[in-house]
């Protein structure tokens, strides 16, 4: 008797959860189907179903018209470069703060950087815009590279410092006895030991930079310099009468993320949620 009540309960849970999963995943399927339909008419007459004929030329047109390739490469190199730059700088600072013998000063430095987590980033958008304009680098990739690198610093320092603090000090003491300098201790001992945390932080930074929209939208106006999110929105605004082609554009920008997510989902989920809690 209890068994049946329980299994009914479980089935209801599964049904509700499956509905939720459909609500999440169906829009992606809708876009995938729409991307191979001939035109708006074909989408409107058969919105939910499988396409009756496949129009893969939508993908070619979107790739050419939307310059997806240009935006894609811009995003890829900016996101990668900034993510690496931030983790290298943050790892150096975290090493100085947690492992070098300037405890009092380090405590102050750490608190100082912690303030950054309290500042709402949107409030800084306009002053940074003006600063970059004065520096004459607005509408160049530097206008994204430098703020992206800087923006992730507080969170990266917090996560990496927490990790480095947990490394036992006997290791570096032995290394110093053997004649290693502070730089050597960092490069040969602490940095390699921190790699698990560095991977998490890299994913965190990369997804953040890859998806960033506000700065990319307002700091860059030359079309060829745009990143993928801004390029996609521009594409939508230009070709919003052709939903089939627009859907193909969406597929281009979703598929790479889906692939990365499928491979690294454990690290991505852990990294993103841990990052937000610490933040």
């Amino acid at each position: 008797m209890t068994m049946t009540v329980r299994s009914v309960q479980k089935s209801i849970s599964h049904i509700i959860l499956l509905i939720y999963v459909i609500v999440i995943l169906y829009p992606f399927l809708f876009v995938l189907f729409s991307s191979v339909k001939s035109d708006n008419q074909a989408i409107a007459s058969n919105p939910f179903g499988f396409p009756s004929s496949f129009h893969f030329e939508n993908y070619y047109e979107a790739w050419v018209n939307a310059k997806i390739s240009v935006y894609f490469l811009n995003s890829l190199y900016i996101a990668t470069l900034c993510s690496i730059a931030t983790i290298v700088f943050a790892a150096m600072a975290s090493f100085a703060i947690t492992r070098m013998r300037f405890w009092k000063l380090s405590k102050g430095m750490y608190q100082f950087i912690l303030i950054g987590m309290l500042i709402p980033s949107n409030a800084l958008l306009l002053p940074i815009f003006i600063m970059l304009m004065d520096a004459g680098i607005l509408d160049t990739h530097l206008a994204l590279i430098i703020p992206y690198t800087a923006g992730a610093i507080p969170l990266n320092v917090i996560i990496l410092s927490a990790f480095m603090r947990s490394i036992p000090s006997e290791l570096e003491e032995a290394a110093v006895m053997d004649g290693l300098s502070a730089k050597g201790v960092f490069a040969k001992i602490i940095f390699p030991l921190t790699i698990p945390a560095l991977v998490t932080v890299f994913i965190l930074n990369f997804i953040g930079n890859w998806n960033e929209f506000l700065l990319a939208n307002f700091f860059i106006s030359t079309d060829e310099l745009r990143t993928l999110p801004v390029g996609m929105v521009g594409f939508r605004d230009t070709y919003n009468t052709n939903y089939a082609q627009m859907s193909a554009g969406i597929v281009y920008s979703v598929v790479p993320v889906m692939i990365i997510y499928a491979v690294l989902q454990k690290q991505i989920i852990e990294g993103l949620t841990a990052g937000s809690i610490k933040g």
């Binding site: 959860l17 992606f28 949107n122 600063m131 502070a182 998806n211 506000l214 939508r236």
Partner: protein
């Protein structure tokens, strides 16, 4: 001993890049906003101090308050609608044995997508003629709705999209907290004859209140930061109906080159966020901890 780790030069060198970037992109802009917020700077003439004029202008502008109201809607929607849904779905997932991994992976998908893609995808769903929602409404014989261009519906439509994007993220977070509760507690309750509803409301939920509190805190911070989704879906329209504080600031500060006024709005965003965070910590977060220890 340990001389190597006491080298002041190395210490300075290691901290230098972070400190320089941090001061340039966090500390300096904050001060710059505070200073320029009290000027009439428009980018052409030199900035002139004009006291509280900008702030007076903001608090007497209906559009500014409409933007503040929309930020409040973001917060209300996430606390009243999203948080209960998050807890409900987390409990469901934690209770099933099969497919747990699949559910977790699936609900998290929107969190890794860019807001740009999600905004575009949803503006397609909301499209008046061939969008998914209106097609469903018409199939049911109902009147189509101009989701994003009707001032009565636009904000609600954005809130739905925003919830769709982020609910899964928080579900995964709360789920992790539920799964870290020691099994013995639940098993003891089963032995005592507590049903699953009883266990959920009397044991699991009280034990995860700290993480729910974090979720609410993050939702408030997220609500104050909301801007990209509004710009992508409606650009603050129709007629400013969906503007939030950040998009209002951008409209004046960047688009209309009223730097002084824009910076004053930046200061207000900063102040409002701090007040909300402090109020939440003092009034609610503390109380939650007290309950926990009592």
């Amino acid at each position: 001993m340990n001389k190597a780790l006491r080298s002041p030069w190395t210490y300075a060198l290691f901290l230098l890049p972070v400190i320089v970037l941090y001061i340039l992109f966090f500390i300096y802009p904050m001060f710059a906003a505070f200073i320029k917020g009290f000027t009439n700077w428009n980018g052409v003439e030199a900035a002139r101090f004009n006291g509280l004029n900008n702030f007076e202008k903001a608090i007497t502008d209906d559009k500014f308050w409409s933007a503040v109201k929309n930020n409040a809607y973001f917060i209300l929607f996430s606390v009243v609608v999203q948080v209960p849904a998050i807890v409900f779905f987390s409990l469901l997932i934690s209770n099933v044995k099969k497919l747990k991994g699949l559910y977790k992976t699936a609900v998290f998908v929107p969190s890794v997508m860019s807001t740009a893609v999600i905004g575009i995808l949803w503006s397609f769903i909301y499209e008046p003629d061939i969008g998914l929602f209106n097609l469903i409404l018409m199939k049911l014989g109902l009147q189509p709705v101009m989701w994003l261009s009707d001032p009565n519906w636009a904000m609600f439509s954005i809130l739905i999209t925003n919830a769709w994007q982020w609910t899964g993220f928080y579900i995964v977070m709360v789920l992790a907290a539920i799964l870290s509760i020691p099994r013995e507690i639940d098993e003891a309750a089963i032995v005592d004859g507590a049903g699953s509803f009883m266990r959920a409301t009397r044991i699991t939920v009280p034990l995860i209140t700290p993480i729910i509190s974090v979720v609410i805190m993050l939702s408030i911070a997220g609500a104050m930061k909301a801007a990209d989704i509004v710009i992508i879906m409606t650009r603050g329209g129709p007629g400013g109906a969906t503007d939030v504080m950040s998009t209002y600031m951008i409209k004046y500060g960047i688009t209309n080159i009223k730097y002084g006024y824009g910076n004053a709005i930046a200061v207000l965003i900063f102040v409002f966020t701090l007040i909300l965070t402090a109020l939440y910590q003092l009034l609610i977060a503390r109380r939650i901890e007290r309950v926990e220890y009592s």
